[in-house]
Symmetry: C2
Subunit: 464 residues, 2 copies
């Protein structure tokens, strides 16, 4: 039996006895959902098979691409065919295209290096022949850059060889502590006169795989920004720290094209007269590399199959379960921001928003973001998942789109998974079906279906 | 105490009581060597630091390159400076250059795919614009290709999506069972009229990393041959097996240039009047990707530091320890073959040849190739390595250059290591210093030094 008082640093938190009992009363129904998800033949590997078909059709789905729009049409039609109430809502999204990109170390020895330009980066078209040749300067942190000062940086290519957070932290925390070098490295380095920025890929393990992702220009001069592999960051840093002159040749033809219309897909399942909502959140767009299978096709298909399972089991919850497939998450939550702007009323009636963007690996429980009372509510819900050994409950450092809802007061949760390999694939060409396991996706469907049903059906509101 | 009779399938094998005792008598000296290698300050991470300096200077060292020749000069000078007897022996080696290479899937959807042309492959220069466009045909095995027949293969690009051996086997055995698709895939597929061959990379894990390696043309028409990632092999195969037409566009500018002079480096340590030899074997060349750190800079530096350790400890063995750095191993043992041709006398006087080409990871013992009696001799020697938990003894499926010596009757052994990640890096851009661990290299030095000393000093000859 879980405690009525949850421990959450730095204090214990009360949960009303009736609320606690109302949650725990779902044990039988939860077990029924888990059993159906994992033992009924028609659900065996259904999410994986659906996702495989999906990525086979559309591949990567970057913001502004035809592939993304086609994949949105496809999911809308799939939900309609399955008898759901579906609609889409328009969102203007950015369209950044990578073009060709090459990096060569010219001295102290020649080496061709793999790169991935960062989202919204400009290219090197303004240089003669479209090629930027410059000396490298290496910093492990913004502090080191500050100490080095403009005189030693001006006209050079800044290489941020920052570690991937603290190795003693969990992967998402390591990412959270260190992605600033990717997102604002160009803006910060430009303030010191750097002509381009190369950022060591954010990962704890590499097989020479560059990791892309978003970056944002601020008020300083826009300079090209790209990720390099952990291996090449080490190689450049090694030469540099020994006092050798490292000369680099960078060529990037990236470009930012006009914004384009895209759509969030919104699927509702619940009584037609219900006004309260439980949201299942996952983004349908991806970066332009790999297949966007793990990030976040997996989330899309797990959430969809979770609500489909509830529907087919005839489990109609008290509240509406709203499955949203966000557009243009990777470039900065364009779909999520538009939703928050347009849905003030929904947001006030939202029971909880459950994110599914930590990778669809083996589920270990739920994460929570919100008041201590809300976290305790989530913890009690997770305690019902003993049959699949997913009763963990932990705080979340960040939760993609549900973070935006949380900022508006909505309690937020997320399906928590074994993330040990998440950042091996994150934003890389290796984000393909090979990163995922069919049975683990079944376990994720079971977790999402059961949790969503409890939150949507329990009489009590999750405390704000 | 190890048994006097060794179990080796399918029977137990005798080892003379005196031989056994003569080997086991080295326990104290072996412990002294292990202790020095691992506890004396000047040896702490010495092999790793030396290797790091080496790859920093020369990077990849493909056959026929200036980098390889410069690295040979460097190691020769290093050994001379350290007071060893050193000489080099000339070898004519091939010079294959990769040039530019791109692969694009045009249908059923567009996807750019990473490739690595295989050593000695021709390019696509003979096609209009240097570009070969053709439909793909996918086979999981040569048997499947045979069943498919020429009519369905002619004019197409053959994609070998063969599994990486049997997952229940150890990595080297999986490789041994399946590298034929890389080495002779082009030759075999050309017999059925294929216009190019793409081979799924030989590995059990991939982060979108293509794995190169050698391939050999036979008597059939020469066609371009390249490796693709495990991910892309799966993607192509998935489309193909569902009956879709997969169209590929391949561009490769690879070329075979005239042979060039290179050298084996031969370092001798032992009494000047000794005629018997113990050979420590490792190749100094690498493929042209990554830094050739694991394959096989690690072997070169471990073997060198092993003999250097013995010299500095003043341990002069009965026989000469000959450290050889082979040239042009990757293209087909050019250095090794020349040595075997030129050294008939040495070979007859060779006690044992110890290979170091399984990756310099945590050592687990010794492998053996030769008579049952020789294997038993090796097993007893490994039994002395208890202090570093490396007493394992196993048969070896293959042993690089020492295999050539074994074919001439020389008993062969190899330092055996934890190979669980070996094929993650093998022949890829990820073969950099990041693949290796400084302490594991120290353990390898300890293992090689101790084993070499026992084999070189024990009164008994290893039975042939």
């Amino acid at each position: 039996m879980p405690p009525t008082r949850c421990w959450r640093f730095p204090r214990t938190v009360p949960l009303p006895e009736t609320t606690r009992n109302n949650i725990l009363r779902y044990k039988t129904k939860v077990d029924k959902i888990l059993q159906a998800a994992l033992e009924q033949k028609q659900y065996h590997h259904a999410a994986y098979d659906g996702l495989e078909d999906f990525v086979e059709r559309f591949g990567a789905r970057p913001s502004g691409s035809d592939e993304l729009e086609d994949s949105i049409d496809f999911m809308k039609k799939k939900a309609e065919d399955d008898g759901f109430r579906v609609h889409t809502e328009e969102v203007m999204v950015p369209r950044w295209v990578r073009g060709e990109e090459t990096l060569m170390m010219l001295s102290p020895r020649q080496k061709s290096m793999s790169i991935l330009g960062l989202g919204t980066t400009i290219g090197t078209q303004q240089y003669p022949g479209g090629v930027l040749k410059a000396e490298a300067v290496v910093c492990d942190s913004f502090d080191e850059m500050e100490k080095l000062g403009e005189a030693k940086i001006k006209g050079k290519i800044m290489v941020f060889n920052a570690p991937f957070g603290d190795p003693m932290d969990e992967p998402m925390k390591r990412y959270g502590a260190s992605y600033k070098y990717r997102t604002s490295g160009a803006d910060r380095a430009a303030q010191y006169g750097a002509v381009a920025v190369l950022v060591r890929s954010r990962t704890d393990y590499s097989l020479y795989t560059p990791h892309g992702g978003s970056q944002y220009y601020g008020n300083s001069t826009q300079i090209p920004a790209a990720a390099i592999t952990a291996e090449d960051a080490r190689i450049i840093a090694r030469h540099y720290k020994k006092g050798k002159t490292v000369t680099l040749m960078l060529k990037m033809s990236a470009a930012n094209l006009p914004m384009r219309k895209s759509r969030n897909v919104i699927i509702d399942y619940g009584p037609s007269d219900s006004t309260e909502l439980v949201m299942l959140s996952a983004h349908i767009d991806s970066w332009d590399v790999g297949e966007g299978a793990m990030d976040n096709g997996g989330g899309v298909f797990v959430n969809y199959h979770a609500v489909k399972l509830l529907k087919e089991l005839g489990l109609m919850p008290r509240r509406t379960i709203r499955v949203v497939f966000w557009t243009a998450e990777e470039e900065g939550y364009f779909g999520g921001k538009e939703y928050v702007k347009m849905h003030e009323f929904d947001i006030s009636k939202m029971q909880i928003a459950i994110e599914n963007d930590l990778g669809t690996f083996r589920p270990v429980g739920l994460r929570a973001k919100g008041s201590d009372e809300a976290a305790c509510f989530v913890k009690h819900t997770a305690s019902l998942l003993g049959a699949i050994n997913a009763t963990g409950a932990s705080d979340s450092p960040s939760l993609s789109e549900t973070h935006l809802l949380h900022d508006k007061g909505v309690p937020a949760a997320a399906i928590d998974v074994d993330q040990s390999r998440y950042f091996w694939y994150h934003h890389t060409e290796a984000d393909t079906m090979d990163a995922l396991d069919p049975h683990e996706l079944d376990l994720c469907v079971a977790t999402m279906a059961a949790s969503a049903f409890v939150f949507a059906d329990v009489p009590d509101r999750v405390p704000r």
